[in-house]
């Protein structure tokens, strides 16, 4: 593995930075075209209702209205997963949650579109609803879709139970019998939203000839193309999707909510259609993450060794089948080397918006429950929380609780760094507690395409297919520069549209720096090979006798020939005479992605009179393999930590008895604001991932996993009372006191 880096580890400016600080960058809602219509969506005011009829005639008759559509405008599709996506974008027959789309209009202005919405008459027949996970899973609950219950489940769970997973080895009961202390607790966590500041937005233009252009804010424009072309019944090749700058995603933009609607309206109206969600729509009708109800039982010896561990995770994922509890069950005990462990999970449907990924989907709540019980055991047995975690920590060679045996991982290093950090030994003020938690998340590989052109002036144009959500254009340029041996600012990396470079999977799973990085290095290798060939031709020596060193071709030794090195710029300048343009590309599906562990430490102060919790100090340790651009790695760690703090303290989807969402806005859906927080100190640990030539691990998601338990453990210490429910909002804390 490469060790001596020239570019990696430096902190150059991001290529999109200047546009973003001057207001030039084009996000989803920033694009307009002449002749464009404005669309709006009519949404269900009921949690669950049969749509008896929809009368759109008055809306259609309104001057300026160019198209009105309902679920009837969408033909059925073959794949059931695509059908769910389609029916989530526009209800067919039944409205399944408060905010579910039932009709849409396109008109010459926003004002006319809004007026037209009010003229659509929908007759509903209200049906019983369920929004709580435990109620939805219980036999007798209103079932959202028949025939989708997970295979092999019994009558003790309702038909809403669409997934069952179990991971582990050994027998937890054996372990509990050997333990000196066994604690079993039940936890609940609220559904939270990714909270990206940019609402979903798109501009669609689908002609009668089946050719379409779609501009949208997404984490994966190829995904958008595949799903939309299937729903619209057109060829993927005919739909060109361009990803705008994306104003935050965090998993929430890994599916479609409005794009098929805009395309259908455009098709019907014969004009381009712009569709932008309001913030209220974002909360009511895009995908929050799951709420959960979790049982955790852990048995420990007096010395702190975990003897047995068992978790039961029940996740609520909204109105359509989904598969996400699995990731929670896999993550729950991943930090520990255990002989007897089992983690089971159930995916449950309810009358809520269909969940979609949120940063390390499924893991934060599972790890919150496990790490809370770990903390309580340490308290009860008088053990140091970090020493105890070190005693049980997974390391290279550990058979993980979810199956594979770990290669090199950095949990022990992160724990040791945490223990040695001055934060851990700093004195604590009154009413203040210090919480610690481990966290874990996977990285993914997946399909990826990169195309790299060596320009005649010695610069490099690089096209990749993954929307840049956190600075990846910078890290990709850096890896290209490192591989080619040239300066960073001679490379420009852009995210191509679906017609300009090969397929790429969605930007998710902390995969981009890893997977696009590998493709970039391989594309560079291809270009280097060609450049060496050109040099060999010029020197009239064998191509094998040329090697690439520090950005230049040179003979492998005196035997190969005596020529001064020929730089990339020199080779590029005469490429027209030596065989034409030089480029490198790589399409592949890199595997061997690593996993990433983090350890967070937080001091929280609880006001005993009000239950108000404030974060006084926060330090986050994370193994990132190799930090390509340390400043952006730090940013990922800080941002993830703060999202986790919000999840722990104040963020929640609040539903009333009527099944309606009570807080669809930033006023009452309380994400952390600047004054809520101290500085967040990131500590980067680098234990290289053996599966990447530069040692890279994805770093984007892990940081949201530990904060929930870290904050909860801090609160428990500060108050002397433990909370078993998130968010730990002041009324709940005060009640517990």
């Amino acid at each position: 593995m490469k060790q001596d880096f020239k570019i990696l580890g430096t902190r150059p400016a991001r290529p999109d930075g200047l546009d973003k600080v001057t207001g030039k960058a084009m996000f989803g809602a920033d694009k307009s075209v002449t002749g464009m219509l404005h669309a709006r969506i009519l949404r269900s005011p009921h949690a669950h209702a049969e749509i008896v009829s929809i009368d759109t005639s008055k809306a259609e008759a309104l001057a300026g209205v160019k198209a009105v559509i309902t679920g009837d405008d969408f033909a059925d599709v073959e794949s059931r997963w695509t059908r769910y996506t389609m029916q989530n974008c526009m209800a067919q027959g039944r409205a399944l949650y408060d905010g579910h789309a039932v009709a849409a209009v396109a008109a010459i202005s926003k004002t006319v579109a809004a007026k037209a919405l009010k003229l659509i008459e929908v007759e509903y027949s209200v049906l019983p609803h369920v929004t709580d996970v435990d109620e939805a899973m219980a036999p007798g609950a209103p079932v959202l879709h028949e025939g989708v219950k997970a295979r092999k489940l019994g009558d003790d769970v309702s038909g809403n139970t669409v997934g069952y997973y179990s991971f582990g080895h050994g027998n937890p009961e054996t372990g509990f019998a050997e333990a000196d202390e066994v604690i079993e607790r039940t936890f609940k966590t609220a559904a939270v939203h990714q909270g990206y500041i940019e609402p979903h937005s798109c501009l669609a233009d689908l002609g009668g000839d089946g050719r379409g252009e779609l501009w949208c804010s997404t984490q994966g424009h190829y995904m958008v193309r595949e799903v939309c072309s299937e729903i619209l019944g057109i060829d993927a090749s005919q739909l060109r999707v361009t990803a705008s700058e994306i104003g935050g995603g965090f998993g929430g933009k890994t599916t479609v909510f409005i794009e098929p609607v805009a395309l259908k309206l455009s098709q019907k109206a014969g004009k381009p259609v712009k569709l932008v969600m309001s913030r209220e729509e974002v909360f009511r009708a895009s995908g929050p993450t799951m709420s959960s109800s979790i049982d955790v039982k852990i048995g420990m010896s007096k010395a702190g060794k975990i003897k047995g561990a068992h978790a039961k995770l029940r996740y609520q994922g909204g109105a359509f089948p989904y598969q996400m509890v699995m990731m929670g069950a896999m993550s729950a005990f991943a930090a520990y080397d255990l002989e007897h462990v089992q983690a089971e999970g159930w995916d449950v449907m309810t009358n809520r918006p269909k969940m979609i990924s949120y940063r390390a989907p499924g893991a934060p709540m599972a790890v919150y429950a496990v790490e809370s019980v770990m903390d309580e055991l340490c308290q009860k047995l008088g053990l140091d929380p970090i020493d105890t975690r070190l005693l049980n920590a997974a390391r290279e060679g550990t058979k993980s609780s979810y199956g594979p045996t770990f290669k090199a991982i950095g949990l022990v290093e992160a724990l040791e760094a945490a223990k040695a950090h001055p934060h851990y030994s700093a004195p604590l003020a009154p009413n203040t507690g210090r919480g610690v938690s481990c966290g874990f998340w996977f990285n993914f590989g997946g399909q990826v395409s990169v195309s790299m052109a060596i320009n005649a002036d010695g610069t490099v144009s690089l096209i990749e297919g993954n929307p840049d959500i956190g600075g990846s254009r910078a890290s990709i340029s850096m890896m290209a520069a490192e591989a080619l041996g040239i300066e960073y600012d001679r490379i420009r990396t852009i995210v191509g549209d679906t017609a300009s470079v090969g397929f790429s999977d969605v930007t998710d799973g902390s995969r981009v720096t890893f997977a696009v990085g590998i493709a970039t290095i391989n594309a560079a290798k291809a270009a280097i090979k060609e450049m060496c060939k050109r040099a060999a031709k010029i020197w009239e020596i064998d191509a094998e006798a040329v090697e690439w060193v520090d950005g230049a071709a040179q003979p492998t030794g005196h035997n190969a020939g005596d020529f001064p090195p020929m730089s990339l710029a020199e080779i590029a300048a005469i490429s027209g005479k030596t065989g034409g343009p030089i480029a490198g590309h790589h399409e592949g599906a890199p595997d061997k992605a690593g996993v990433s562990f983090g350890v967070h430490m937080v001091d929280v102060e609880v006001d005993p009179e009000t239950g108000f919790t404030s974060i006084k100090r926060y330090t986050a340790f994370q193994d990132v393999g190799k930090a390509i651009h340390p400043a952006y790695v730090e940013g990922q760690i800080q941002g993830g930590a703060v999202q986790g703090i919000g999840w722990a303290l104040n963020e929640e989807y609040i539903y009333g008895e009527d099944g309606l969402l009570q807080n669809p806005g930033f006023l009452d859906y309380r994400i952390p604001v600047a004054s809520d927080l101290p500085m967040i100190e990131p500590v980067i640990i680098e234990v290289p991932n053996p599966g990447h030539p530069y040692g890279v691990r994805g770093c984007g998601e892990t940081a949201i996993v530990p904060p929930l338990a870290a904050v909860a453990n801090g609160v428990a210490q500060a108050m002397g009372v433990r909370m078993f429910e998130l968010p730990m909002s002041p009324p709940k804390i005060l009640k517990a006191l």
Partner: protein, 81 residues
């Protein structure tokens, strides 16, 4: 013969058999043989699975070589955020 470990909910479709030996040179061959041996798994395998070969995680990589001493863990397909 590679040692194949069936993990997660997949075990429900192997009549509880958690470990088995399968003679296969590639993941594609392994998955084909696994589906033949446990037809209840076929639907899941078609839909996609993740594989850990000696600790390294692979997704849908049909032609990945499998050594005779390899440990292959078959898991449900992983997704991210």
């Amino acid at each position: 013969m590679a040692r194949v470990v069936i993990f997660g909910s997949l075990r429900a479709f192997t009549d509880g058999e958690g470990e088995m030996e399968i003679d296969a040179q590639t993941t594609r061959e392994l998955l084909r043989k696994l589906a033949t041996r446990h037809p209840a798994l076929a639907e899941t395998i078609d839909a996609g699975v993740s594989l850990a070969i000696d600790g390294e995680v692979f997704k849908e990589a049909w032609f990945t070589p499998i050594g005779p001493e390899s440990e292959v863990v078959v898991m449900p397909l992983m997704v991210g955020g």
